[in-house]
């Protein structure tokens, strides 16, 4: 790991301590590749913060601040206000980001406040579907029937009882001019969406699905294929809402959800018996309804 200097202008450097196959590290690098250096990033507490900034080292080549688990949105509001107040509005755009726990759960009140204030901040939720930094606990974005350490599968339970909280829909309901989803298996799509988001003024929301081999229980070499299967099965549709209207949705050849679920140990309890098979049917219905909702014609 290198300490950043003005001469060393790589935006996100290697040498950090992310696990092998970390989808989050990959996503963060792709995002900054798309934004370029004129950004200030506010990072919520979580894996990304921990594995990039063990004092005195930092992996970041952009101005970066971490304060708390749940205040990234309000800190971003303050940074953005300061730039305007000090006449430095052209110096940088402000990005706030955090994991699914920081975004959908503990920090959500602050994000809603920021959206309502219509602050010129791009908010990125890196969604790995659980509190991975603290040991794979359930979050509001943990998928239906996923096993986590606080929604464990057991003799009388088949994992997480709730469906994912629909943050993109909540973002659209706040009147955001730009809301999109992306994932690391489609880097061009991700890059295009980040660039598009940076063209828009006001609050913008991007939710990026980032596989976590440790938390999902798949091989570290399968990060990209899991990311791809999440889209192909319809469980993580990729779309854009511009000014409240569905603008684009990725067309994919629909695959059965089992292809996505089977390689991940967090879903292995669903493959034990008939009760599990019933749950897989319900998960297939979620996927089907996503296909219908985003008017994505499945390529047969």
């Amino acid at each position: 790991m290198t300490t950043q200097t003005a001469e060393n202008v790589k935006l996100f450097n290697s040498g950090h301590t992310a696990c092998a196959g970390c989808g989050l590290a990959l996503a963060a690098r792709l995002v900054l590749q798309a934004t370029g250096p004129k950004v200030i990033v506010v990072n919520a507490t979580g894996c990304l913060e921990v594995f990039t900034t063990r004092s005195p080292q930092t992996a970041w080549g952009i101005p970066w601040i971490h304060s708390l688990f749940e205040n990234q949105a309000a800190v971003a509001t303050g940074v953005e206000a300061a730039l305007r107040a000090l006449g430095r509005g052209d110096e940088a755009r402000v990005i706030a980001w955090g994991g699914d726990g920081a975004s959908a759960d503990i920090g959500f009140g602050g994000i809603s406040g920021m959206w309502e204030r219509y602050d010129d901040v791009l908010y990125i939720c890196y969604d790995n579907e659980a509190y991975m930094n603290t040991g794979i606990q359930r979050s509001g974005l943990t998928p239906f029937k996923g096993h986590t350490s606080t929604s464990p599968a057991g003799k009388v339970s088949l994992g997480n009882m709730k469906q994912k909280k629909n943050i993109p829909a909540i973002a659209v309901a706040h009147g955001l001019p730009y809301v999109a989803t992306a994932t690391v298996a489609y880097p061009k799509d991700l890059e295009r969406k980040v660039k598009k988001a940076m063209e828009v003024r006001g609050p913008r929301y991007l939710q990026i699905l980032v596989p976590c081999p440790l938390g999902w229980g798949h091989a570290t070499s399968d990060t990209i294929s899991m990311s791809k299967l999440a889209v192909e099965t319809g469980l993580n549709p990729l779309f854009e809402y511009i000014d409240g209207k569905l603008a684009t949705a990725m067309t994919v050849k629909q695959k059965p959800v089992e292809e996505y679920l089977k390689p991940q140990s967090r879903f292995k309890h669903l493959f034990r018996d008939a009760a599990g098979a019933e749950q897989i049917k319900l998960i297939q219905e979620i996927a089907n309804s996503n296909f219908a909702k985003f008017k994505v014609e499945a390529v047969k």
Partner: protein, 392 residues
């Protein structure tokens, strides 16, 4: 120029004179008039400033934290539950060495919910790493704000400062206030020059993780900073006096203590009540004085130790309580005087919680009690009939 002004509005006008770049706050009684007035000052174009309405005190504190980290002079105000909601951010702000100024309108903490004055809110955050100032009256409070920004932003300090004013007793009291001119304040408090700030022209990382290999040293550095803040606080008051002719400063203040056998120790507006009672008791020949703790953090242990080296009896009068523990002011004071050759006896009394009036008779009563023997965490002014009813 002197102008009869409500305490909160006077604070707002004083803060505006300090030209903050970013203000963010959330309404809570009895602080609200400060931010209402500041919002109006900004709306009228009298102050060029980003005034940010947020959805909670937690976000208000976080917003000024972000603004300060980006190089802005930032301000917020709160009270009671709001301060407690800010608490996590306050620790973080101090640890990140961000010189934000915060006004706290001191108010009781729920339950039962109570909007009236005591010190429980701010006392509860005393370990966060904030410099804590307590105003005796509203002129003092205004002068503290000019000095607070100067102290916070001093390159040797770089810490948040909290100015405490008693809810209602000060916040809603109308007093003639002497406001300095903008030109003079600009001279006293030049533009904020942060040592380091978030900038795309100099990309740096803020808020890094400090593991077991670094955390101890980081906290040590903060503790060391607190040891060297006193001269900065004293100089801010001296410079203020040179420019405005008024001394509003010191870590502590002694009142009629020259030959005092008994010394009443307290903070904030209670000091005025104690001074009045001492004047009355002096007329009757009692050798009694008052010691005001003006700065609670850094704790002026050396000054207190010196000031209490001659008396026989100390009486701490407190408007907060550590439930299940000793009186807070008393405990700290005892540790400050422990090494004195002459150790006075120390009593402490809890008064005025939740806005209960502190009457002169209450003060005479507690002095009388302490003279009979040491009292520990004794409540004064209780309605014993009500206590019995509640017991049932």
């Amino acid at each position: 120029m002197k102008k009869v002004t409500e305490g909160l509005k006077a604070v707002a006008e004083s803060v505006a004179l300090c030209r903050p770049d970013v203000i963010s706050a959330y309404p809570i009684t009895p602080q609200t008039h400060i931010v209402e007035e500041l919002a109006q000052i900004v709306a009228d174009g009298k102050l060029k400033c980003e005034f940010i309405n947020v959805e909670s005190e937690f976000s208000a504190a976080s917003t000024v934290l972000g603004a300060s980290a980006a190089g802005a002079r930032a301000y917020t105000a709160t009270s009671s539950q709001g301060l407690l909601l800010m608490m996590e951010v306050l620790y973080n702000m101090a640890g990140m060495r961000l010189p934000v100024v915060i006004t706290d309108a001191n108010r009781a903490v729920s339950a039962p919910i109570n909007i009236w004055s005591d010190w429980q809110d701010a006392i509860t955050v005393r370990d966060a790493g904030l410099i804590m100032m307590y105003a005796e009256d509203n002129q003092d409070c205004c002068d503290m704000h000019y000095q607070a920004f100067k102290i916070a932003e001093d390159p040797e300090v770089q810490l948040p400062v909290m100015v405490n004013m008693d809810g209602f007793i000060l916040t809603h009291a109308f007093d003639p206030i002497d406001f300095p001119s903008q030109a003079d304040i600009d001279k006293y408090l030049p533009k904020f020059k942060p040592l380091d700030f978030l900038s795309a022209n100099n990309p740096r990382s803020f808020g890094l993780m400090g593991g077991p290999d670094r955390y101890l040293e980081t906290r040590y550095a903060m503790a060391e900073t607190f040891k060297s803040i006193t001269p900065v606080i004293l100089k801010a008051a001296d410079d203020f006096k040179k420019m405005f002719g008024r001394y509003s400063g010191g870590m502590i203040e002694e009142y009629r203590m020259e030959d005092a056998e008994t010394v009443l120790v307290s903070m904030g507006s209670t000091i005025s009540d104690l001074k009045e009672a001492v004047d009355t008791m002096r007329e009757k020949g009692k050798k009694i004085g008052v010691l005001k703790i003006r700065i609670l953090r850094p704790y002026p242990a050396a000054e207190i130790k010196q000031a209490l080296s001659r008396c026989k009896r100390v009486i701490c009068v407190e408007k907060a309580i550590s439930l299940g523990g000793p009186g807070i002011l008393a405990a700290e004071l005892k540790s400050a005087i422990y090494s004195n050759a002459n150790k006075p006896e120390v009593s402490n009394f809890i008064i005025g919680l939740g806005g209960r009036d502190v009457k002169q008779d209450h003060i005479f009563e507690l002095v009388e009690k302490a003279e009979k023997g040491v009292c520990e965490t004794e409540f004064i002014g209780l309605d014993m009939k009500l206590v019995e009813e509640m017991d049932k």
